[in-house]
């Protein structure tokens, strides 16, 4: 073990100004610091927040009940605007999920070390977000109790689903996405659950973590298989995450509605998804790292990187906007052109400009390194981006529908209390789930932290030897 002080960075150390890990910690220190919150009774704030969350979830259940028993007519939807809040929320939640998979899978493949501290948050977020998303396609059906007709099963009707419809693709995509995310998350979690088991202070905790960790004993044989399996899952999740939002975007791109019928949607949706996802990760991570006192593993470096991702994806989204409207004009298609014009100056114009501000304007803050690490700025910006991205989806769905080909059937859409309750309710449910996650699950992968520490030590060791060698770096 190296005993040298890592705070004295060797020259040319890429991690110089923002270290990946703050301070040198022993393996046991990691276990204790990262499990501290799990093993200690929750504080007052936690309970308060949970209270809020549960209250919101109650509202959600009421709204769901009303939707199921009275009918989807309790929503504000109409003809022409047959899809509205429901699908907007669906797309928004699904998009948010994408950050998790991106961080945990893609960054893993790219060997980005900084993912280790945040991937568990992100993945948990993915799970809850996709769960929320999954609600809406079911609820928005006219006859939800017939949902199983979307699945090909040998029925006595001899009738099958119609696989040209993007909705059947959705089922497959979202289902797969949820399952794979869950497996990926759990596989990564097992070793840490073992740690939780072994550091548990009460027999009860020990028992449950014992069950959850399935008898993990850190055997080298297991580690070897585990690592392969984890990589494989990452490898599968990576194209999956791209495919999911692509398919979601097909819901619109495949239709011929002006404002939907465009080829830019798949990349534009994926970028937007990552964009909103990272925004939400930041929204949650910034308070969480303080509350959990884990700044030593979630360092300014992580915030800085995420801010950069935000800016990058923000630009991709901006490019999407430009493309969309440029081609509307370039196509010289009167319907497309009118749709664009309506977006700029029509009844929904204020929303449109707000969206442009949130999704294109705000990320430009992150040109300034100082702002990238300023938690307050970062947090507010992230919030704005979340709002902006929801607005974007709302505009795509509703604004396009409300003005299509025959002016005679144009009509506006007004959300009802049920619409709002479902949106707010899912947010509350998401929050509740996240609180429980913080309380019961190691928030950061300890095994990875330890491994990472070992690597950092090694690299410093190596560099120091270089530095001391005569004729080395000045």
């Amino acid at each position: 073990m190296s005993t040298a002080d890592p705070q004295v960075p060797a020259p040319g150390d890429p991690l110089a100004e923002h270290p990946l890990l703050e301070g040198r910690h022993s393996d046991r220190a990691y276990s204790e610091s990262l499990l501290a919150y799990v093993h200690s009774p929750p504080g007052r704030t936690w309970w308060a927040l949970l209270g809020f969350g549960l209250a919101g979830t109650a509202v959600l259940t009421v709204a769901i009940g009303v939707t199921l028993f009275v009918g989807v007519g309790m929503w504000g939807n109409n003809i022409p605007v047959a899809w509205a809040f429901g699908i907007t929320n669906f797309v928004w939640w699904i998009g948010i999920g994408h950050a998790g998979t991106l961080i945990s899978a893609i960054l893993l493949l790219f060997q980005e070390k900084w993912r280790g501290s945040i991937n568990r948050f992100a993945e948990a977020m993915t799970l809850f977000a996709v769960t929320c998303a999954g609600l809406f396609p079911l609820l928005h059906l006219g006859r939800p109790w017939k949902f199983y007709w979307l699945v090909p099963y040998p029925s006595s009707l001899r009738a099958w689903p119609q696989f040209r419809s993007p909705l059947t693709w959705d089922i497959a995509a979202v289902g797969t996405y949820l399952t794979v995310s869950l497996l990926f998350w759990y596989v990564g979690l097992v070793p840490d659950l073992a740690t939780a088991r072994d550091t548990a202070r009460t027999p009860r905790a020990r028992f449950w973590y014992g069950l959850a960790s399935l008898g993990w004993r850190g055997s080298a044989r297991h580690w070897r298989q585990w690592r392969t399996g984890y990589l494989l899952l990452a490898g599968l999740a990576t194209p999956l995450v791209v495919s999911v939002h692509t398919i979601v975007s097909f819901d619109f791109a495949v239709a011929q509605l002006p404002g939907w019928h465009t080829t830019i949607f798949p990349p534009y949706f994926v970028a937007g998804a990552v964009f909103s996802g990272f925004a939400l990760v930041l929204t949650l991570l910034i308070p969480a790292r303080k509350a959990l006192r884990i700044e030593h593993v979630v360092t300014p470096l992580h915030l800085d990187n995420m801010a950069k991702v935000l800016m990058a994806t923000g630009w991709m989204v901006a490019y999407g906007y430009i493309q969309e409207h440029f081609f509307a004009w370039f196509s010289a298609n009167p319907f497309e052109m009118h749709a664009t014009q309506a977006e700029f100056f029509g009844p929904y114009a204020p929303l449109f400009w707000m969206q442009v501000f949130c999704n294109v304007g705000v990320p430009q803050l992150f040109w300034f390194p100082r702002l990238r690490t300023n938690v307050v700025v970062l947090w507010v910006a992230a919030l704005l981006i979340n709002v902006g991205m929801w607005t974007e989806r709302f505009l795509i769905v509703v604004a396009s529908l409300s003005m299509d080909f025959l002016p005679s059937s144009w009509a506006a859409y007004r959300p009802t209390w049920v619409d709002w309750s479902l949106l707010g309710g899912t947010v509350a449910f998401f929050g509740t789930a996240f609180l429980l996650f913080l309380k019961f699950v190691p928030p950061v992968s300890m095994s990875e932290m330890k491994e990472l520490q070992r690597e950092v030590d090694a690299s410093l060791q190596f560099r120091r030897e270089q530095g001391t060698r005569p004729g080395g770096a000045p």
Binding site: I79, R143, Q162, A255, L406
Partner: protein, 1061 residues
């Protein structure tokens, strides 16, 4: 075949005819709580009454708490236990499952429209036109069709009252008998009735008059304030009927909306007019009107005028025409007052002295023409009375009329004062366009003045017994007649009505009326043709009594049933031939009694009087409009009662959907959009954009209208094409006692109506209340945004370049292999909608609603834009927003061959049939609504909530051939596939194929102008094929490559050549 006989009695003459009564026992027993709902819900093919999935749904609701999936499964295995209730004795000629069609008819405002009603196991389910009837020619209007819903209206009155206490009809009848035994010759006996053309009822009146010489029978009803009626009296010396024969080369309509659903005989008028408007040889329509109407939308030259300008306009027209005629005789030396400098054409072409007339071919003898023309030519209109535009219009119209002597028609709306009509007749006579006059068909033929007398009598307590059979006078009477208060002074007042309405509330004695489809009667078409109106069903509420039954008590004929009375009446009318029974059967089956048209009236125009009246008015310094005056001499008296409207002017109209309010309880009509404003469930004060701007009022602002101390607060609707400074408001809304449907919907405009201004006049004031009210419009956006959707071309332009439509006719390129549909050996159903023939009357919408069990969604539903009409009529304005034209375009599912809705449905709930139908499978639909999103025509409708009414009574009406859709299911036009399949079953069972004309869609059938064509595109001779190949056809949104099976044909216009004559 033998048909229904008097339902109330089983001892009716011909035995077999009594069967349906027994058939209906089950239903009556059901009313009595016997075994019933099953009786009606079974005994016909499946798909009738229970909602599809209804069971699955309820099961779901029970089990949902347990688990959604489980519930989904349960319910779909077993059908719930059901009963079959066969007839005890089968009605003759009825095979369960096969609908019967009965010829009958419906009378309102004294005129009858012949109808054919479809009946399933004794339940009338659909009203269609009677092709043999002159007033229908196979078409049925909105009122006739919607009347069916009124039959099954749960809010109908059920029990009789005698002096405030519930009583059986028999008790009331005894009381009436006592009344009838009076010895005073009926001095205090008065009947308040609606004018009727029914020979039977008229015979009963005569009989009553015989028994009670001093009794009086007084007509009542909004439509009585009819300038045309008075006009005939002034012009021809006695009241005559005028037949709207608008099938002429030139039609000049002054404030006359002859296509309006509210005009008796509009079905025939529409057919005549459109038939004379062949695209290759078009007639020309000149319309000057005081609000935007369907007729105005059809006009080639439309002019906005204030209601009060009718007189001036007609004077000018008369002068022009007169001048034209006598001018053409080459006379010179103008006589009479010299035209003022700023007087337009009226003076420009100087009138000629009476001289030898040029014999106008087809016209009457030279004498009339020449002298009359000369006299007319002397008429003058003060410069201030007309704008230049109006003068120009007058000149043009006159030129056109002169160019087509004997083939023109000048027609004036009933809301215009008598003088205008009088002059119109004169002009027509002068031009040789002999007006078609008949001896009055309806009785009593007195005008509103009779009412004034009755009011006086009531006030003096000279009336002891008042029998009211007219519809709801307490509602329709003008406020200043004090009817409601005077009514109280009649000790015995009986109201005979369908509902416990506002009048019933004021009449201690009440007798529930039978619905027209429940009772025997007869009636006469506008042209006098008589027909027997037979009942379709025994009274649903046993207490109900028909008008004939009621009157026969006073006529002392109650021993005979209406059926017997009717039959004996016609036996003697037809001279009691030996083969009477046979004839009778034929009349019943045909719905027409041949050879009963009224002969043309022998009437000669009283030129002197006409010209005298005209000069009097024209001579007056300022024009004053006096309506509802028996003669012009009354003008002086009237003039200070109604001030000549300067400033804002109020124009009251009959509602295109509720008429005078009698249909306010009818959900179909309440939800039917007004053809022009697209307003449902409400009425609104119509303002022109300019006026609205001036008053700083906007759509939905509630304004307060005041006239002579009376005020109503009503939301404003800005209507392009409305004349400036004119507020148009529909009567008939805001009913107070009408049952759940119409209760307090809209605003009651009757308070603004007075005896001397029955159709409005000067508007005291209009002020904003600051309140706002959302208006349930089915079409918010009025412009086509420059898109080529509803097309209208000038005839000349089209003739010059018929291939101009090419780009709208071809289908877009397609990546997929071409659909082999048209090559297949199956039928290929298709539709064509000719905008050139579509007047926008909306009969098709009601027909569709009735045929396909389309639910209503109520005012809130429309406000949420969730209306369910499968067939909608889009209305777009063209040109100058202040003075636009407008065009109506019926749009239903166009059954695209490459349907965008189909490939997005995840469960194959909407797919294509081998006959080119875009099929909608309700029971497969799970309600993703993706199909609607991807439908560029937005013709799909979604059951956002449980819209279907499930009361047993309303279920009776539903078409058993069409699935009743439940909540959460998408629906849309099916090309009436149930009719196709019916026809196919019959044809194929006879081992042949369906023939051209065997399948009529409901909309096609109802259309008065035959604007909708349906048939097999592959049949070489089919009309639909011809229209699909017509150079006027185009495919809506064809650039999207949807390949619609329904094509539209452009509307042509025939504007007058601009500039010189």
């Amino acid at each position: 075949m033998p048909l229904l006989t008097d339902p109330a009695r089983t001892d009716a003459p011909d035995a077999p005819a009594t069967e349906p009564v027994r058939a209906w026992r089950s239903l009556e027993e059901w009313h009595a709580g016997g075994p019933g709902p099953e009786a009606v819900s079974r005994e016909h093919p499946p798909g009738a009454m229970l909602p599809p999935e209804g069971v699955a749904r309820r099961t779901f609701l029970q089990l949902a708490t347990a688990s959604l999936a489980a519930a989904g499964f349960s319910g779909c295995f077993r059908q719930p236990p059901e009963k079959i209730l066969p007839y005890s004795t089968p009605p003759e000629g009825l095979t369960p499952g096969v609908p019967l069609h009965f010829a009958t008819g419906l009378e309102w405002s004294g005129r009858t429209v012949g109808l054919v009603v479809e009946s399933h196991e004794g339940r009338p389910t659909k009203v269609e036109g009677n092709p043999l009837h002159p007033a229908s020619l196979g078409a049925a209007g909105v009122f006739e069709q919607a009347a069916l819903l009124g039959l099954y209206d749960p809010a109908r009155a059920k029990t009789a009252r005698l002096q405030g206490v519930e009583a059986a009809w028999s008790t009331v009848r005894d009381a009436l008998r006592k009344q009838a035994e009076r010895q005073d010759g009926g001095a205090g006996l008065r009947f308040l009735v609606e004018p009727t053309g029914s020979p039977l009822v008229q015979a009963l009146y005569a009989r009553i008059q015989q028994r009670f010489p001093y009794a009086r029978i007084i007509p009542c009803g909004v439509a009585l304030a009819d300038g045309r009626r008075e006009g005939t009296r002034l012009a021809y010396g006695r009241v005559l009927d005028v037949v709207h024969d608008v099938g002429r080369a030139v039609v000049v309509a002054v404030d006359d909306d002859f296509l309006a659903t509210t005009q008796p005989g509009h079905l025939r008028a529409a057919r005549d007019f459109v038939s004379a408007r062949k695209p290759e040889a078009m007639n020309r329509l000149w319309v000057a009107e005081s609000t935007l109407t369907l007729t105005g939308g059809f006009a080639d030259e439309r002019l906005r005028m204030r209601p009060s300008q009718g007189v001036a306009l007609m004077l000018a027209l008369a002068a022009e025409v007169g001048g034209g005629i006598s001018g053409s005789t080459g006379a010179n030396a103008p006589v009479g007052p010299v035209p003022g400098p700023n007087e337009g054409g009226a003076g420009a072409r100087a009138p000629a002295a009476p001289s030898r007339a040029a014999p106008a071919e087809g016209g009457p003898g030279p004498r009339v023409t020449e002298t009359l023309a000369a006299k007319l030519a002397q008429l003058r209109v003060p410069a201030t009375a007309l704008t230049d535009a109006q003068r120009a219009w007058v000149r043009g119209a006159a030129r056109d009329l002169l160019a087509h002597r004997g083939q023109g028609r000048v027609t004036v709306g009933p809301r215009q004062p008598p003088l205008v009509h009088e002059l119109a007749f004169a002009v027509d006579e002068a031009l040789g366009n002999t007006p078609r006059l008949l001896e009055p068909v309806a009785f009593p033929d007195e005008g509103p003045e009779a009412l004034n007398l009755l009011m006086a009598e009531l006030f003096d307590g000279r009336v002891d017994t008042l029998i009211i059979t007219a519809w709801n006078p307490a509602w329709t009477m003008t406020v200043d007649s004090n009817f409601t208060r005077n009514l109280e002074r009649a000790p015995f007042r009986l109201y005979h009505g369908l509902h416990e309405d506002e009048t019933a509330a004021r009449c201690p004695t009440f007798v529930p009326a039978t619905h027209p489809f429940e009772s025997w009667r007869d009636g006469r078409a506008p042209d006098g043709t008589a027909s027997v109106l037979q009942p379709l069903i025994a009274p649903l509420f046993p207490g109900a009594v028909s008008e004939v039954e009621l009157l026969s008590v006073f006529a002392g004929l109650e021993s005979q049933s209406p059926y017997e009375l009717l039959k004996s009446l016609w036996r003697e009318r037809s001279g009691a031939p030996l083969d009477f029974e046979a004839r009778w059967e034929t009349w019943l089956a045909d719905g027409v009694i041949p050879g009963t048209q009224a002969p043309p009236a022998r009437a000669v125009l009283d030129e002197a009087a006409v010209v005298q009246d005209a000069l009097e008015v024209a001579g007056l310094a300022s024009l004053r409009i006096v309506q509802d005056a028996p003669d012009l001499r009354a003008e002086a008296r009237a003039s200070h009662l109604s001030k000549a409207p300067e400033g804002l002017e109020l124009s009251l109209v009959l509602d295109s959907r509720l008429y005078d309010g009698r249909f306010a309880g009818n959900a179909w009509l309440q939800e039917l959009p007004d053809p022009v404003t697209k307003l449902t469930w409400d009425n609104a004060a119509l303002l022109s954009p300019a006026t609205a701007r001036a008053l700083s009022l906007e759509k939905g602002d509630v304004a307060r209208l005041e006239v002579l101390g009376q005020a109503v607060e009503v939301p404003v609707l800005v209507l392009p094409g409305q004349p400036d400074d004119t507020v148009t408001l529909a009567l008939g809304h805001g009913r107070e006692r009408v049952g759940p449907v119409g209760q307090g919907v809209g605003v009651n405009a009757y308070p603004l109506r007075s005896r001397y201004m029955p159709w409005g006049g000067g508007l005291g004031s209009i002020t904003r209340t600051g309140r706002h009210q959302a208006l349930a419009l089915t079409q918010e956006h009025w412009s086509m945004e420059g898109r080529q959707l509803a097309l209208q071309l000038a005839q000349a332009a089209f003739r010059a370049k018929p291939q101009a439509l090419q780009p709208l006719q071809e289908d877009g390129e397609r990546l997929y292999p071409p659909a082999a549909l048209l090559k297949s050996d199956r039928h290929q159903w298709a539709m064509a909608i000719d905008l050139h023939r579509c007047t926008g009357c909306s009969a098709c919408m009601v027909a569709c609603q009735a045929e396909n069990n389309v639910p209503v969604v109520g005012r809130d539903g429309v406000l949420k834009s969730r209306e369910m009409h499968w067939l909608r009529i889009d209305r777009y304005f063209l040109g100058d927003p202040d003075d636009p034209g407008f065009i109506t375009q019926p749009v239903a599912c166009v059954h695209c061959e490459a349907a965008p809705c189909e490939y997005v449905c995840p469960v194959n709930a909407t797919v294509h049939s081998d006959e080119g139908l875009n099929q909608m499978v309700y029971n497969r639909c799970i309600g993703t609504r993706y199909c609607s999103n991807n439908c560029p025509y937005k013709v799909r409708r979604f059951n956002y909530l449980e819209y279907q009414q499930r009361e047993p009574l309303t279920r009776l009406r539903q078409n058993p051939d069409v699935t009743v859709r439940s909540r959460g299911v998408m629906e849309k036009c099916t090309y009436c596939v149930q009719r196709i399949e019916r026809a196919r079953t019959v044809a194929r069972s006879a081992h042949r194929d369906v023939r051209e004309g065997e399948v009529l869609t409901a909309c096609q059938q109802a259309c008065p102008t035959e604007a909708i064509t349906f048939g097999d595109l592959r049949a070489p001779e089919s009309r639909v094929r011809r229209e699909h190949e017509d150079p006027r056809h185009y495919k809506l949104l064809n650039t999207l490559g949807t390949r619609p099976r329904t094509v539209h044909l452009v509307r042509l216009k025939n504007p007058a050549p601009k500039g010189g004559a």
